[in-house]
C-alpha cells in the first residue's frame, strides 16, 4: 500500500478550473438558443466553427510551446463562442476565422497561454476584425428574416439602435421587445433578460463576482444620465445606452474573464468603473458605434496596476486596527497635549533638563511629592462633595 504524501489541507473543494469554464459555456447556451430562435441555423454553424477553430488552435499552440495538452480545458471554446456572440449573424466566415486566429495566435499564446495573457483574447479578436471590416461587423439583419446558412450576400441590412444613438437619434421599438432581443443587433447581445438570468446563474455558481458587472453597468448608466445622447425623459438616455450594443453581454461575459481582470475586490470595482466610463466615451467620441471591446482591452493593460493599487491601499493606506486606534485616539491626545501646555509641567521638564544633576534629583523629588499631594487634595474635595 503506497500512501500519497499530500500537502495540507487534506480535503479540497470539488470544483476546478474545468467546472469554472464549463459553467460559462452552460450560461452561453441559452443565448445561443435565443439567437437560433431569431436568426436560424446559421448561428449554430458560426458558433461551432468558431469553437472548434479556437480549440484546435489552442491545442496547436500548446503543442508548439511544448506545454501539457489538456483536452478538458475549454477556455478556448469560450473565446470562440464569445467572439461569435458579439458579431452579427450575416458576418462572413472569413471574418470569424480571422477573429479566432487573431485571438489565439496573437492575443493569447505569445503571452504565455492560459493564465498569463494580458489581453482578453475574444475582445482582441473582435477589435481586430472591427477595425478591418467595420461594414461587415456593424451591418445587422432583421430578426425572423430567412437567413441562408452559407451565402448571405444580398440580404437587407439595417442599422442597430447603437448606430441610431450615435447620430443622436431615438431608437425605434418597444422597450419590451428590446428586453427580449427582438430587434436588429449582434447575435447574442440583444436578449437582455436572458443575459441577466445568465448573470444570476454565474453569480450563484460563484464563477464570477458581482463587482465587475455592477460597476460596468452602473458607471455606464451614470455617464449616460449625466451626458445623454437622446433625451425623451430623464431616464431614456441611460435605458437606451444600456440596452443597445453589447454592454450588458460584455459586462457579464467579456469583462469577467478571470485571467485578464484584477483579482482583488477593490481593483475589480475600479476596473469595472473604468470599462463603463471608457465605453461611454468611445460611444460619444469614437469612430465606431460600439467601443466596448476597445474599453476592455484598454482596462486590461491596467489590471495588474489596479491590483497593486488595491494591495497598496490594503496594506499601506487603509486603516488597519493599530492605525485606526491611533486616529481615534488623536482628539484625546491633542486635548491632553493642550491641557499639558496650559499647566507648567512642560516648563518643569525643561528646567529638569537644564539644571545640574543634583538639582535634577531635587526637582524630580518635588514632582513626586507634588503629584500625590494633588491627588489627595482632589480626593478630599470629592469626599467633601459627598458629604
Amino acid at each position: 500500500m503506497v500512501l500519497q504524501a499530500a500537502k495540507a489541507p487534506n480535503i479540497r473543494y470539488k470544483e476546478s478550473v474545468h467546472t469554472l469554464f464549463t459553467d460559462v459555456i452552460i450560461a452561453m447556451v441559452p443565448l445561443l438558443a435565443m439567437a437560433y430562435f431569431y436568426y436560424g441555423p446559421r448561428t449554430v454553424v458560426l458558433a461551432l466553427t468558431a469553437a472548434v477553430l479556437c480549440f484546435g488552435l489552442d491545442l496547436l499552440c500548446r503543442r508548439l510551446a511544448h506545454t501539457k495538452i489538456m483536452l478538458n480545458d475549454f477556455s478556448a471554446v469560450i473565446t470562440g463562442i464569445a467572439i461569435v456572440m458579439v458579431l452579427p449573424v450575416t458576418v462572413p466566415f472569413y471574418v470569424v476565422v480571422t477573429a479566432c486566429s487573431f485571438a489565439m495566435l496573437i492575443a493569447k499564446h505569445p503571452f504565455g497561454g492560459l493564465g498569463a495573457n494580458i489581453f482578453n483574447p475574444a475582445c482582441a479578436g473582435v477589435a481586430f476584425v472591427t477595425v478591418c471590416w467595420p461594414k461587415a461587423v456593424f451591418g445587422f439583419p432583421k430578426p425572423f428574416d430567412d437567413i441562408p446558412v452559407f451565402f448571405t450576400e444580398g440580404l437587407t441590412l439595417v442599422q442597430s439602435p447603437a448606430s441610431v444613438l450615435k447620430v443622436h437619434g431615438e431608437p425605434s421599438g418597444d422597450l419590451l421587445l428590446m428586453l427580449l432581443g427582438n430587434y436588429s443587433g449582434a447575435m447574442g447581445t440583444t436578449a437582455i433578460l436572458v443575459i441577466v438570468s445568465c448573470l444570476a446563474f454565474l453569480l450563484f455558481r460563484r464563477t464570477i463576482t458581482w463587482h465587475i458587472p455592477v460597476t460596468v453597468l452602473g458607471s455606464a448608466a451614470l455617464m449616460a444620465l449625466l451626458f445623454p445622447r437622446v433625451q425623451l425623459n430623464i431616464w431614456s438616455g441611460a435605458v437606451f445606452e444600456l440596452l443597445a450594443g453589447c454592454l450588458v453581454f460584455g459586462a457579464v461575459f467579456l469583462a469577467n474573464d478571470p485571467v485578464t481582470s484584477p483579482s482583488l475586490p477593490a481593483a475589480k470595482l475600479l476596473f469595472g468603473a473604468g470599462i463603463g466610463v471608457l465605453t461611454m466615451l468611445l460611444r460619444h467620441f469614437g469612430g465606431f458605434e460600439e467601443g466596448f471591446v476597445f474599453a476592455v482591452l484598454m482596462m486590461n493593460t491596467l489590471s495588474y496596476a489596479l491590483d497593486r493599487l488595491a494591495l497598496w491601499a490594503r496594506y499601506d493606506l487603509l486603516l488597519d486596527g493599530a492605525r485606526l486606534r491611533r486616529i481615534q485616539a488623536l482628539p484625546g491626545a491633542l486635548s491632553r497635549r493642550a491641557s499639558k501646555g496650559r499647566g507648567n509641567s512642560k516648563q518643569l521638564v525643561i528646567t529638569v533638563e537644564k539644571t545640574a544633576r543634583g538639582k535634577k534629583e531635587k526637582t524630580a523629588a518635588q514632582v513626586r511629592a507634588s503629584g500625590p499631594s494633588q491627588g489627595s487634595s482632589a480626593k478630599k474635595e470629592g469626599a467633601e462633595d459627598g458629604r
Binding site: 500512501l3 499530500a6 489541507p9 487534506n10 478550473v17 482583488l264
Partner: protein, 414 residues
C-alpha cells in the same frame, strides 16, 4: 474589505456518524512508538512508558516533528487492564434503562471537590497532562491562570475542521467529568464565569448539542471555517478569557479523583475507508495502523492523515504514532490531484482569506523568491488555515508555498 464573518469558507462538516456514536477504548496495542526526545533533553514521560518494554530505536520521518528517532515498546502482558479506580460519585442520569442518553438537558448540579489551585497544579504535574489544543503542559497553563488576571474560564470543544469531533464528543460523553473539572478549576481560581464553547455550524449533526449541561452553559461560536482565530475576540465580551481543552480537563478530573496519569488521547477515526467511524480513546504512541485496524478498513486508503482534515499531515508510514495533540486519524481512498492548470487569477483565495492576504500574489512571489515583495504583502500574518488551497480551482498548493515563504522571510534557508 471583507468582514470577518464573510471571509473563510463554509465547509461541509462530515462529522457523522463518529460525532453521535459512543466513545470506544483501545488501550492495549501490540506496540508503542514514542518519539525519543533525548537530543533536547526531555525523554518520553514515565506515564507513557511505565508498563512497557523497550524493543529498540527506529528512524521514522514524522512531518512537522523535529525528532526523527522513535523508540519502540511492547506492552507487558496483563498491564493493559483498566486500573482499579475509586471515582467520586457523580450524579447519575435518570433514564438508565433505555441505555445511555446523550442528549439530556441535564438539570443536576455538579458538586466537585473544593481544591486549592496549587493542589490542582501539583496533580496535573504528577499526571503529566498535556493540553491537546496547544500542546502545552496543563500545569504550566494552570500556573499561568493562577498568575494572570483572568475573568472567564472556557472549556474548548471547538471542532471546526471537517471529520474531527474528538473534543465535542468528549464533552457530550464525559460531560460530568469535563465540566466537573472545569468547575473545579474555576472555583479554585475564584472565577465566576465559566462555560464550554463549541462550534455551531455542524451541518450534518444528528445529535443536538444542549445549551446547558449540569447547570453550566454550552455556548456556541458561529461563522465560517477558521473560527479559532476569532475565539479570543468572541470571548472578549465576557471578559479576559482563558481556554483549556476538553480532553485536558477530562484527564485532570481523572488525575484528581483517581490519581490516574495521562497516557491516552481521544482521536476521531473517520474517512471513507474506515468501516466503523467513531471516537476512540487510544494509548499515546499507538501506531496509526493499529488504530485503523481497530475501526476496520473497508478499502485500501490512498492517503492517511494524522490530525485534522484541514491542518493535519499526510503520513506515508503507518507506524507513525498517535501523540498527545493528535485529534484524528483519517483514511481517504482518493488521492489529491496535482495542480491542473496554472493560476488563472480568479481571486477566490483573496475573497476567502480570513487574514485579508492575497495568496495568489504570495504564491507568485514565492516562486521567484522575492522576499521584499513577500514582506510587503505581510506573509507573516498567515495563520496556515488552508482555506486558500481548499478553494483554489487550479488545485495549487498555496498554503504550502506560503508556509515556505514565511520561513524564507524569517531568514531560514528553504
Amino acid at each position: 474589505m471583507a468582514a470577518g464573518w464573510l471571509s473563510g469558507e463554509n465547509l461541509y462538516q462530515a462529522k457523522e456518524p463518529a460525532f453521535s456514536r459512543e466513545q470506544k477504548q483501545f488501550l492495549n496495542p501490540k506496540t508503542l512508538y514514542l518519539p525519543d526526545y533525548n537530543e533536547t533533553g526531555a525523554p518520553p514521560s514515565k506515564a507513557l512508558t511505565a508498563d512497557a518494554v523497550l524493543l529498540g530505536r527506529y528512524e521514522l520521518y514524522y512531518p512537522r516533528l523535529a525528532c526523527e528517532s522513535f523508540m519502540r515498546f511492547s506492552l507487558k502482558p496483563g498491564s493493559s487492564e483498566e486500573p482499579e479506580t475509586q471515582e467520586i460519585a457523580l450524579p447519575r442520569k435518570r433514564h438508565k434503562k433505555r441505555g445511555k442518553r446523550l442528549l439530556t438537558h441535564t438539570e443536576e448540579t455538579l458538586e466537585p471537590l473544593r481544591l486549592e489551585l496549587e493542589q490542582l497544579i501539583e496533580a496535573a504535574r504528577r499526571a503529566d497532562i498535556v493540553d491537546e489544543t496547544d500542546a502545552r503542559p496543563l500545569c504550566d497553563k494552570l500556573q499561568m491562570l493562577y498568575e494572570g488576571a483572568y475573568t472567564v474560564l472556557v472549556c474548548d470543544a471547538v471542532d471546526e475542521q471537517p471529520y474531527v469531533s474528538s473534543n465535542i464528543n468528549t464533552l457530550l460523553q464525559h460531560g460530568a467529568e469535563v465540566l466537573g473539572a472545569l468547575k473545579m478549576v474555576a472555583l479554585a481560581r475564584g472565577i465566576d464565569t465559566y462555560f464550554a464553547l463549541c462550534y455551531a455550524d455542524i451541518d450534518d449533526a444528528e445529535t443536538v448539542i444542549p445549551h446547558r449541561m449540569y447547570e453550566i452553559p454550552v455556548r456556541r461560536i458561529y461563522g465560517r471555517y477558521p473560527v479559532r482565530d476569532r475565539v479570543k475576540k468572541a470571548l472578549s465580551k465576557y471578559g479576559r478569557g482563558y481556554i483549556i481543552g476538553a480532553q485536558a480537563l477530562l484527564h485532570l478530573w481523572r488525575a484528581v479523583s483517581a490519581g490516574r496519569e495521562q497516557n491516552t488521547a481521544i482521536v476521531t477515526v473517520a474517512g471513507d475507508c474506515v468501516g466503523n467511524p467513531c471516537n476512540v480513546e487510544v494509548r499515546v504512541g499507538t501506531p496509526a495502523r493499529e488504530v485503523l485496524e481497530f475501526c476496520g478498513l473497508i478499502k485500501n486508503p490512498a492517503r492517511v492523515v494524522m490530525g485534522g482534515s484541514m491542518r493535519g499531515v499526510s503520513i506515508v508510514d503507518l507506524d507513525l504514532p498517535v501523540l498527545y495533540t493528535t485529534r484524528a486519524v483519517l483514511a481517504f481512498s482518493k488521492p489529491i490531484q496535482n495542480p491542473v492548470l496554472s493560476c488563472i487569477l480568479c481571486g477566490r483565495c483573496v475573497e476567502s482569506c480570513p487574514r485579508k492576504l492575497a495568496p495568489n500574489y504570495l504564491y507568485k512571489f514565492m516562486q521567484t523568491n522575492n522576499t521584499a515583495a513577500l514582506t510587503k504583502l505581510q506573509v507573516e500574518k498567515c495563520i496556515e488555515c488552508g482555506v486558500c488551497s481548499y478553494v483554489c480551482p487550479a488545485n495549487l498548493e498555496l498554503t504550502h508555498a506560503i508556509k515556505k515563504a514565511k520561513h524564507l522571510v524569517r531568514g531560514g534557508v528553504e
